[in-house]
């Protein structure tokens, strides 16, 4: 945080150079300060994700809180040789949000009801999104290189929380096609993002 006026480095509880992986491993040893630091570093991305999926501030805040409670209690399971801390944490946040969407879907009797009911809310929330974040433009540019059908598959599954089976039903296409489309979409996204790193 270059603009943060820190008079002395010693006043910072964690050196800014501590990686998210370091912080997460310190959580596993019970370091609460590391947990707070990790939360402050990754919660804007995590909250943006939860808002994107849940389209409701209160639900998203609940999901964010539950996810970080789980992150604290399960930090001992994190293995840095298998994934980055960021990926591990965002996976938990996404899972929490999607679980919540699916519970709501069941309560509202139908996957589509949720989307219809929250379309306006989605508009509001996404309008407030901080678009100045550098990764946002980079990912948007990469997404624009996908085919519309690939983007749609990612949007329905990752951001609306539909299962592949539900996506196949909604689009009225075979499940195998959905699986192939999603795999191709992520691989292509990887290729595009690697080109801009």
């Amino acid at each position: 945080m270059a603009s943060h006026p820190a008079p002395t480095a010693a006043a910072e509880p964690d050196p800014p150079t501590a990686s998210a992986e370091d912080l997460l491993e310190r959580c596993a040893q019970g370091d609460r300060g590391a947990f707070v630091d990790l939360y402050r570093r990754l919660s804007p991305g995590a909250y943006g994700l939860a808002l994107r999926v849940l389209r409701d501030e209160h639900l998203a805040q609940d999901a964010l809180q539950e996810a970080f409670e789980q992150i604290w209690s399960q930090s001992g399971r994190y293995d840095r040789s298998r994934s980055s801390a960021r990926s591990w944490i965002l996976t938990i946040v996404h899972r929490r949000a999607v679980d919540r969407v699916r519970r709501e879907q069941v309560e509202r009797q139908g996957a589509m009801a949720w989307g219809a009911q929250h379309r306006e809310a989605e508009h509001d929330v996404v309008a407030e999104v901080v678009e100045l974040h550098a990764d946002h433009r980079r990912v948007r540019a990469a997404l624009s290189a996908l085919t519309p059908l690939q983007r749609q598959a990612l949007e329905l599954a990752y951001h609306r929380g539909l299962t592949q089976t539900q996506v196949a039903a909604e689009l009225d296409i075979p499940l195998g096609t959905v699986k192939t489309r999603m795999r191709d979409a992520i691989r292509r996204l990887r290729g595009e993002l690697e080109g801009t790193r």
Partner: protein, 244 residues
């Protein structure tokens, strides 16, 4: 059409996107330790999905952090990064005062309490904080009008005096924003345009009493956000609003 007995390699993308049905997920999780190809692909594409996940940044309201920490560490005063103390105030033994389960009930009570106190024009609402002459004068003005802010945690109100053409924000037990962030008050005019009416970080007890600038005659509502220090425009989702 992939059948339930189909190739588990086809499930990788759905697994990464949390889009598998439970039986499929169980099948993929069982397959994963036996397949170095899938494990490597999972790690690589996992970073791609994390990029997708993290492409939208919205700073959560500070109340989430407060609730999180009071839930996880109810017995402790966790304050690894105390904000600069802006007023000489006695330090409270606990900063996170809200057990998550009690938060809703607390908020219901909060508006009423601060409303009554302000109707009596009592500056003791912000007892721990030093109050300037202006804030005291606005609170004591005959036409002082108090609008409680419905924050998820902590008490805060905006008090407006039309005669003085001034407003103040006051509150206590407000959660500390993250480093580099402040509470911002935005004045929205009837045509929807927004201008900054001030920004603050509460003192170490969570208290604030501050004059808002820009007057109140052309203000339709005040919005509260948590935004980076020095922000010229609101970017976060407003956490509370007071309509005049």
């Amino acid at each position: 059409m992939t059948t339930p007995s189909g190739d588990p390699h086809d499930l990788l993308a759905g697994y990464l996107l949390d889009a598998l049905d439970p039986e499929e997920e169980a099948r993929f999780v069982a397959h994963l330790p036996t397949c170095a190809v899938c494990a490597a692909e999972l790690a690589s594409l996992g970073e791609t999905v994390a990029d997708l996940a993290e492409s939208y940044h919205v700073v959560p309201p500070p109340t989430v952090e407060a609730r999180l920490l009071s839930t996880l560490f109810p017995e402790e005063n966790v304050d690894p990064e105390p904000a600069p103390v802006t007023a000489t105030a006695e330090r409270r033994p606990r900063r996170w005062v809200l057990p998550a389960a009690a938060a809703a009930a607390f908020v219901l009570g909060a508006g009423a309490v601060i409303g009554v106190s302000a109707l009596r024009s009592s500056p003791t609402v912000v007892a721990a904080s030093e109050t300037s002459d202006v804030t005291t004068a606005v609170m004591s003005a005959p036409d002082a009008h108090t609008m409680p802010l419905d924050l998820p945690s902590g008490d805060a109100s905006i008090v407006v005096s039309g005669e003085m053409d001034k407003a103040i924000v006051m509150g206590h037990e407000l959660p500390m924003p993250s480093a580099g962030m402040e509470y911002h008050v935005w004045a929205q005019s009837p045509d929807g345009s927004m201008s900054s009416a001030g920004a603050f970080v509460p003192d170490s007890t969570g208290a604030i009493a501050m004059e808002l600038h820009g007057g109140v005659r052309d203000v339709a509502s005040f919005l509260i956000t948590v935004d980076p220090t020095g922000a010229a425009h609101p970017s976060g989702v407003p956490i509370a609003e007071a309509r005049l």
